[in-house]
Symmetry: C2
Subunit: 334 residues, 2 copies
Amino acid sequence: MPHKKLKLADLAKLAGVSTSTASRALNDNPLIKKETRERVQKLAKEHNFSLNAAASRLRLQKTKVIAVLINLDSETEQSIDDPFLLKVVSDINLAVNRQGYELLLSNSFMAGTDWYGYFIDGRRADGVIVVGQGKQQALIDKAAKAGMPLVVWGDPKTDADYVVVGSDNFLGGELAAEHLIAKGSKNPMFLGDPAHAELSERYDGFCAGAERAGVTATQLLKIDITSQAAYDAINHKLRNDGLDFDGIFACSDMVALGAMKALKERYVSIPNDVQVVGFDDIAMADISFPSLTTIRQDTRQAGELLVKKLLAQLSGQKVSSSQLEIALIERQSS
Amino acid sequence: MPHKKLKLADLAKLAGVSTSTASRALNDNPLIKKETRERVQKLAKEHNFSLNAAASRLRLQKTKVIAVLINLDSETEQSIDDPFLLKVVSDINLAVNRQGYELLLSNSFMAGTDWYGYFIDGRRADGVIVVGQGKQQALIDKAAKAGMPLVVWGDPKTDADYVVVGSDNFLGGELAAEHLIAKGSKNPMFLGDPAHAELSERYDGFCAGAERAGVTATQLLKIDITSQAAYDAINHKLRNDGLDFDGIFACSDMVALGAMKALKERYVSIPNDVQVVGFDDIAMADISFPSLTTIRQDTRQAGELLVKKLLAQLSGQKVSSSQLEIALIERQSS
DNA sequence: GAACTTTATGCAAACGTTTGCAATAGGCGT
DNA sequence: ACGCCTATTGCAAACGTTTGCATAAAGTTC
């Protein structure tokens, strides 16, 4: 039997009511007698009826869709391979669904530069969650100014007129520095690129924490934030400067893992010669050997909060940025 | 200036033409005089005009959306954390966009059990890509029988009446076995769970390859396919049986990494005492120490092919399952 | 029993596109 | 001048919901 597609009107006919009654019944509108409502709903289930979302959206001017815009750093079209970002997206997905919304996965390639037009005017989504501030702060600003319901995963200390949710990166840096020093490190080093908003917070926190713990001279090894770059940089540094550090605070776990590989290859003992602290707490942190001490970002709560704030905006409330709590997870690398 | 939302009719008025002409002009319909077309298009750009997707979909009965349905193995609602699956999704995303489609990220939580009704009747998507056959083969079958445009990422040897794209898992197993043995392994072991369709192929290939290379007695260590389970299982085995194997073919890189951690902790040298080969080639394979020899799955090509086949279905063509080529990437662990 | 309220339902318009068909205008051959 | 063809545009219907308003039936009050 070929699939016979029913519309609301057909369902209504089956139930012996008008289309309007059927519509209201499906929405559990108390205007309709309870008995009727249940009859219609039961019939809908039996026939696997589902509303035409396109028609519904057109009529309601609402999509019940949230777009997630992944802000790739690179200009070149390429897939995301940062496991942490993917984890964030995955947790957003869950939170979105839990609120009865659907998730449109997008990127600047599709959205172009006029995000408001594309998503909102185009009735593709009711609001947007931007993951990663990347280099497109200007576009985010523009969209926010146009009044687009918008929440950004990034550095919550960003001074902008849009809402940002992110971890307390400064505190994370502090914790890392204090931990390294408490574990005996005299020459801790920061590995990352303070040019990124979030990372600069981590670096500042790192310096502040170190100073407070009595270590004023911290090194900064500036690199692209990939594990490959970390690997190369540490190799290069060991060759040139020798082992003039005894602790590393890496700006992400992937960077930390890259650094550790270089250390291990050169028989630098972790944590005896060099202690390492990462950031994110991706799955690999626990599986690497030695396992990686790191600052955990609570992605589950992040997803929850991002969505909650976006929905609040949609219902007209004024919301503000906020920070997520973080925690140091101590493992073997320190 | 508050954002003034224009509809097609407004744009038409601006251009001094009728709505129908404007519509056709935007679609580059040659019925319309070239000059007029260009005028309308230019005007659209200037005013950041974008069509109301809801209205368009309603009228066209097409959404230009492809849904990606992530088939979680576990019953419990939880986020995906398998980096390989995420990579697949990410590459599908790119391929989808390249074809001018949008990507609806979904899961069984939203779609319920009547996928056809939800996605197709509900006009949420034109077709669905299922990632991971998981335990819901029945649901996939049902959707396929209902005539839903559908492509599955999984084991292409699956005998089902839906289209599957996946790697040549059998060949992967063979390559792994041959490589291990060529590198001197006498007692290679498979680490994984042959209950899964894809993994059973890998296991069968592994056995066949070993046999052909002259090793008839291969071990099988059956585990949940997580790195934690692998870690635990290897630890347990070393304690109970001692080191009675000298090669591991892990069913995935994550499993391999978990196993390697256990080996390293007990000072079993890789690759001297035990050689390890993984499967997938996730980013971590290269960064782990020692770096992991593995069978690379070409996720980029996978995304491309999945989308291509789905679109072919949409245009009424008959398509069949197909296998992706794989390659052994030799690194330090073997 | 008239006037009024309450409860339950139906009618019809509107959301913004796309497209078959009709219409207009100009060109050209006879 | 007439018919006919082509090129370009416009009219109006349709896609399937949702909802303000009208309606109808039934209950309540005086």
